[in-house]
Symmetry: C2
DNA sequence: CTGAAAGCGCTAACAT
DNA sequence: ATGTTAGCGCTTTCAG
């Protein structure tokens, strides 16, 4: 084999050699007009450029990489690209990378450990300049081995723990407390927490925050907080909708529902409306993330704001900064804040329960 | 230079050579255990595999590519990843690619022609196996030159016109008609159309559909349809919110607003509520896309459904199919359908206007 | 079943 | 200012 197994009738892609020949110079001169334009005489450069244009010359990135050029692609592994939170985060990364002429290789792993491992491997084989990831498992997973082999890693939405990497996260424990506090403040004493079956670090921290807050109010999580687990790999909107059946079967019934993210909250809202249960009159609901449209939901969703775009932008900054020889790993911790809207009200019976 | 300009203190990444040495075999045998495992004796293979493991061997994708291996990465260029429509579409692509062990290199170009051209170039230089794109310009743009140089292209959300490529699109002209029809059916005769300043093929087609429908009802687009243009590169939610000022300044005022997509519709809803204008009592609003949460908006958004995930899934199928030597280019045309919910009602004065 | 050798396209010394 | 040479890591005939 050899013609690159490209599309059937494609003309062979010409290389520097061919350009050099047409321009009547040597391959290294062509390379120079590409990489050190100042070192080549103006007239020669023009001739070479004309040759490149007429041949439709396209640089071969693989060959440059092999020769030792620094890669311009950054890998990114998110949990679910169809969640607007990650879409926003991805955009933050994109925008920053674009400014530095870098590209993004994106994976969405559906919170699947095996897929995460596979994606990490592909990225490493591709020789990317660094990897930004919201880890499914940390600090023990496959991601943790990358830095030791020369591929920088930046964690998003996850504390670095003790690992020697950069990380940018939102304080999820605080976020969990903030979420719980809104319900508690409104008088709710029996809560349900809708969360994934498979916890990732960020959701585990949120859960810890919720429990902390409960205890701070003198409540015992074990009895005051019922947990509803959602199958992890499917769309939260749908699984949460389904889970409302279980939510309503709880006894004693909760008067407020904490959702691990806004997408799940939408599902809960939908499920509740299936049963004709009004929010917040009969049931309070709180989300997490503060996605762009949550203020227009019916009712407007009370939630906890996370700066998704900024998270992505910062992560991109950090990964790009790894290039600097005297770079020190650091952790950026952003603060979430509560957003009170219309989906939380005092419990229906007027008394605390 | 030479140690790959990787992270400062990284150990040099060992290659097949090193593995071969440790296993006491030749590099080609190592290559064989990687690519033709059946051709190597069981015991030798085990030894080689052990050596790879102990050295933390990672295949170099660039070198394989250079040697002629078919690429496993597919490029994708969308207009705006922070629009849930594209996030869903991207997920459809991802899921399909994952099944074929391929990866996704994703770009979001903010409807910017130059960025599109740049992204196309990067993808071509990377030697990707194919490119899936929702083009900003077609059929004259940089995307159109790819197939001739050996990189297959699949259009999403855009008709192929006469070009020799595959495409998967939703019938946008029909979609535009469907959107307009819902307003017309409810009795509206003066409409506003909120659309981007910079049309991409899909929005231009929707606009054509809207005009067609108007004419079918005996209305003259020029007088019955006011156009509100949104700056293209910013988030539609925000620009549409701002545009409500202009919308309300229209004279005579429209009683129904067509939005080029759901994100813009959310912005319009938000802007309208700023003015205390109720939807649909005082103004009807219709979106486009039917994003996952639109049924929970207040009011539930009347819109036109587009199968975003299926679009992505099909596009991935098509690009993967280009590998087949006797592949014929084809265009898949999906049908949109109207989704009537609560944001459209008869015009406020009860009479047609 | 395993090894030796050549080369993919490009770039960086080192000549000239 | 330009050309010559060698080699990045891998795979693939072709011999042994």
């Amino acid at each position: 084999m050899n013609d690159r197994a490209r599309v059937p009738n494609a003309p062979p892609r010409g290389g520097v050699r061919e350009v050099a020949q047409l321009a009547g110079v040597s391959p290294s001169t062509v390379s120079n007009v590409l990489n050190n334009p100042h070192r080549v005489a103006g007239e020669t450069r023009l001739r070479v450029e004309a040759a490149m244009a007429s041949l439709g010359f396209v640089r071969n990135h693989a060959a440059r990489l092999l020769r030792g050029a620094p890669s311009t692609v950054i890998g990114c592994i998110v949990l679910d690209i169809s969640n607007l939170f990650f879409a926003e985060l991805t955009r933050g990364i994109q925008d920053r990378l674009t400014d530095s002429d870098c590209s993004l290789m994106l994976f969405s792993n559906d919170v699947d450990e095996e897929r995460e491992a596979h994606n990490v491997r592909v990225l490493e084989e591709a020789g990317v300049r660094g990897v930004i990831a919201d880890p499914v498992v940390w600090p023990s997973g496959p991601l943790s081995e990358l830095p030791g082999r020369g591929t920088p890693v930046v964690l998003v939405n996850c504390r670095r723990k003790t690992a020697p990497v950069c990380a940018v996260a939102v304080d999820n424990v605080l976020g969990g407390r903030l979420a719980a506090r809104q319900l508690l403040n409104a008088g709710h004493r029996r809560l349900a927490f809708v969360r994934p079956t498979r916890d990732v670090p960020s959701t585990a921290e949120r859960a810890a925050g919720v429990r902390e807050e409960l205890r701070a109010w003198g409540l015992e999580p074990r009895s005051a907080l019922a947990e509803i687990r959602l199958p992890s790999k499917l769309r939260a909107v749908e699984t949460a909708d389904d889970a409302v059946d279980r939510l309503l079967a709880l006894s004693p019934p909760p008067s407020g529902v904490l959702c691990f993210n806004d997408m799940a909250a939408i599902g809960v809202l939908r499920g509740l409306s299936r049963y004709g249960i009004e929010v917040p009159e009969h049931m309070s609901v709180i989300g997490y993330d503060d996605l762009a449209f949550t203020d227009r939901l019916s009712p407007a969703l009370t939630t906890v704001h996370q700066p998704a775009y900024e998270l992505g932008h910062t992560a991109a900054n950090l990964i790009l900064a790894e290039h600097d020889p005297d770079h020190r790993h650091r952790e950026v911790l952003l603060r979430p804040h509560a957003v009170a809207r219309g989906s939380v009200a005092p419990p229906p019976d007027g008394r605390r329960r």
